[in-house]
């Protein structure tokens, strides 16, 4: 019997929510017509900055789903200074992420030592064919445009890299 007031309170909550939805509108948006901007740091899709990638394979090896595929070869680039040896550079042939497998853990982004992978909040890339969820180098590069600017460092933060 002691639970009876709680039962009526519960009915009141649902009824109140119903009235509020009818009078003030719902908490949800009607998705294809109205779009909510995801938070800037939302994990939507992983973008690739190709120039930074050295095909070191760290992301491939750290991926729990094995959904990153990298192929590359070495090429000789002209020496930096006259009279020097030609430099060996890694040329990226293939960089694919299979979003049908990806579980958005972000370990690849964390592990990349050369800032070649970034999170983008973009999320509208579903496909009717599951094979189309394999995004290749060019497509991953296109996502770079949607990557938000890095947030300002806090005052007094230890700045790494070039001084």
């Amino acid at each position: 019997m002691a639970k009876v007031p709680g039962l009526f309170k519960g009915l009141g909550v649902t009824f109140g929510t119903m009235v509020e939805t009818i009078t003030h509108g719902a908490n949800t948006v009607q998705y294809p017509h109205v779009k909510e901007a995801p938070p800037v740091r939302a994990r939507g899709v992983i973008a690739l900055h190709e120039g930074n990638c050295t095909s070191c394979m760290l992301c491939v090896r750290s991926c729990p789903d094995w959904c990153i595929y990298i192929e590359g070869h070495k090429e000789l680039a002209p020496p930096r200074r006259a009279g020097g040896k030609p430099r060996a550079v890694n040329k990226l042939d293939r960089f694919d992420i299979d979003y049908a497998l990806c579980m958005y853990c972000g370990i690849c982004v964390e592990v990349c030592p050369f800032d070649a992978l970034f999170w983008s909040p973009e999320y509208e890339y579903s496909e009717p064919r599951i094979a189309d969820l394999l995004h290749d180098k060019a497509k991953l590069g296109e996502w770079m445009e949607t990557v938000p600017a890095a947030p300002e460092l806090e005052v007094g933060a230890d700045k790494k890299g070039k001084k």
Partner: protein, 350 residues
């Protein structure tokens, strides 16, 4: 009106009754699903529900039915195919048999049994058989568990439901649903007849017990242990797909509507308006426009009652199996027995 109906040949009357029965079952079911399952539940969860199919998603139900019709009719390999296939038909047919006894107007009834209450309560328990058959024939342990839980629950809650109705029967002095309607609308409260005498007032305990038992009979949440989609994956319906699942689905909501019809007949005065408003004194004085107005009044009362059923459904979490049984046997049945005793004592006293 009745004379007009009598001039139609027998096969024509039968056809009309079948058509009326289909409308009386499917129209409330569709209205309930759209109004309460699609919209009210969504609003209570602060969302809008289906909005794309038709204005405000009003055609969504047709889309859903179309989807179900397209689905493959699966039959588990080890299932007892005859019993498996006939089970949803039995559940649905008990709904159709149930609506046959509900009066919708002074002449707008399908059948007018003398023992209408008895018939309704007897026929409503046929669906237990269908559910048990579905659970047993599916060759699936979840289905079997769901079916057995359903059988245990429905039998447990049949009793308080019957006992709750007994109070009404005692007070009305009749088991005929039409007479119960007339007794309420022609009645008076201590000589004041402006409101008739709806048994909601005198049999309030019976009404509450009846509505709780209906909630359990329909296996709606707090009492959805047999369905328990999160643990039994819909219990006895686990193996059903396509049209057979649709039959269970229609059966669930149509039965909600029909039980609400019966509850409105028993406790809210059914199709009638208080007879004193128009100076009628009995069933024979009632104008024939009530044959059109009556069903509308019934529909309104039915929607009000189903609103309560669904409101409770969307608000409460599920009972545990032992709580559920204890509630039926230790709370509802004693309460309704006391109600019967009080009613009969007062009936004799006044």
């Amino acid at each position: 009106m009745y004379a007009l109906l009598s001039s139609i040949p027998y096969w024509g009357q039968t056809l009309l009754r079948l058509l009326g029965g289909a409308v009386a079952v499917l129209l409330p079911a569709g209205t309930i699903v759209y109004l309460f399952l699609f919209k009210m539940m969504s609003f209570m969860q602060s969302r809008l529900g289906p909005m794309e199919a038709g204005p405000y998603g009003s055609m969504q139900l047709f889309a859903e039915v179309g989807k179900w019709l397209q689905k493959e009719d699966l039959l588990p390999e080890r299932a007892d195919s005859f019993v498996f296939k006939i089970a949803p038909l039995i559940v649905l047919s008990s709904t159709f048999l149930l609506v046959a006894v509900v009066p919708f107007g002074p002449d707008a009834w399908f059948t007018n049994f003398e023992a209408g209450v008895f018939y309704a309560l007897a026929v409503s328990s046929v669906s237990v058989l269908g559910i048990l058959m579905a659970g047993w024939s599916s060759a699936n342990k979840y289905s079997l568990l769901g079916g057995l839980r359903a059988a245990g629950q429905l039998i447990a809650y049949e009793l308080p439901m019957i006992l709750a109705v007994v109070g009404v029967v005692i007070q009305a002095g009749s088991m005929n649903l039409q007479n119960i309607v007339v007794a309420q609308n022609a009645g008076s409260i201590f000589g004041w007849n402006g409101l008739g005498n709806p048994y909601l007032l005198t049999q309030f305990v019976g009404f509450v017990v009846f509505m709780i038992a209906v909630q359990a009979e329909l296996t709606q949440t707090p009492f959805d242990m047999p369905i328990a989609e999160s643990e039994l994956v819909s219990g006895y319906m686990t193996e059903y797909s396509g049209f057979r699942f649709l039959m269970f689905f229609i059966g669930e909501f149509a039965t909600a509507g029909v039980f609400a019809f019966i509850a409105s007949v028993l406790f809210l005065g059914g199709w009638g308006v208080p007879f004193s408003w128009f100076g009628w004194s009995g069933i024979n004085d009632v104008d024939s426009w009530m044959n059109v107005g009556g069903p509308l009044i019934m529909l309104t009362k039915m929607l009000g009652l189903v609103f309560i059923i669904m409101w409770v459904r969307f608000s409460y979490p599920r009972f545990r199996e032992d709580q559920l049984q204890r509630f039926a046997w230790k709370v509802l049945i004693p309460v309704s027995l006391v109600n019967i005793m009080a009613t009969s004592v007062l009936k004799v006293a006044f």
